[in-house]
Amino acid sequence: MKAQFSGKRITGLRAVVPETELRFDDEVDNYTFPAKQTLRLKAVMGYETHRVVKPSTSTSDLLWFGLKGLLDEGLLRREDVGAVVAVTVTPDHLLPHVGSALHGLAELPEDTIVVDLVQGCTAFLHGLLQAFLLLERLPEGKKVVVAVGDTLSKWVSTRDRNSYPLIGDAASIVVVENGGDDTIRLDLRNDGGRRDSLKIPAGGSRLASSAETSELVDSGDGNLRSLDNLVMDGSAVFTFVQTDVPPLIDAALSGAGLEKDDVDYFLFHQPNKFMLRKLSEKLGIGYDRVPMNVVEKYGNPSGASIPLVIADNLAEQMRGDALQCCLSAFGSGLSWGAITMKLGGMEFCDLVVSDL
């Protein structure tokens, strides 16, 4: 789907990470592979440190930490919030929804629209699309809060070297409102035929979690995981990103009348350093315009990747003059997308560490 919007802008962005920082070097012995072999991946993949929430922390806790801070600091007023769009693949419960939790905790008015979406790595792009659509109809002056967060560490085996070193829990609160006259172009794509490339087999209506599904077994590749855990076909996902994402980005830039050199920053989902390095090479973009340092500091933040990469690398610039950016995310679904838009002139843009 291609869509075009004008007169919409992001006016504030806050990323949230938990305080617990795990070091890859300390986890090497968790895996069945020889330590030397595992450590070789450190530099290539960007394994260094990653952040995970405490066992008692839910996704809405992390999101509420971010939203509450904005309300308490006067950066966002309750009466200005016309809608909350919450996007996650790791809800607190099947019911109630994360968006409802935020609505209740924030004591927002009853006429505030609450939308809950299920999306993984492309969550932020889907959240922005909903925000842009809502802003077409909301009363003058109303803002949309896009709340994206995941706590996937709870669904990944600590004995799975394919996934656990990369996992990073994170959340973001982004405020979107009407204003300005810049054009935003968005292109979102899906291929449900490849949906099993990223999967959590148990825990839904297909297969309920049970003592049986929680049993760790050798998956045949040396990794230990259960049916309650995320399983990823790394080769398929790598090929997907290198095959399907570059033409999408080329098409998005072309549709916006932009050359690659016109773009100040390419702000991508942060799966791992190797994949981003190869994607940059495939696109012919210098590494300096593709921030890829999030994985080594926080892990792969799933849906909150793009807000986190912005907050960690460009917080100062986001409060200054607008930069031409190309946002792109890709992952579970399979789903992938790109947005060309200008970012800048924000009222706030920061990264906060929660005690959660």
């Binding site: 072999q37 290539v44 040396g222 090929t239 190797f274 495939k282």
Partner: protein, 77 residues
């Protein structure tokens, strides 16, 4: 170049006898993370870039296949 590749394989899996395999990947001697490690080793050693779309199992099936990949990527004589 072939000697370098043999050395890389030995470094990755010193316990494995690669000479008995016709296809390192389908025989399970190399997994996708090994391919990532090999790509990094090759790029460092030969100062080249391997195209992402060339990182497929068939290009890592044997020493000859890997050497062919290196040559196509602009490395070696």
């Amino acid at each position: 170049m072939e000697a370098d590749i043999v050395a890389f394989l030995g470094e990755l899996h010193p316990e494995t006898d690669f000479s008995k395999s016709q296809d390192y990947v389908s025989d399970g001697l190399l997994d996708s993370f090994d391919l990532v490690s090999l790509v990094a080793m090759i790029e460092d050693k030969f100062a080249l870039f391997i195209d992402a779309l060339d990182i497929v199992p068939e290009n890592f099936a044997s020493v000859d296949a890997i050497a062919g990949l290196v040559r196509r990527s602009g490395g070696g004589a």
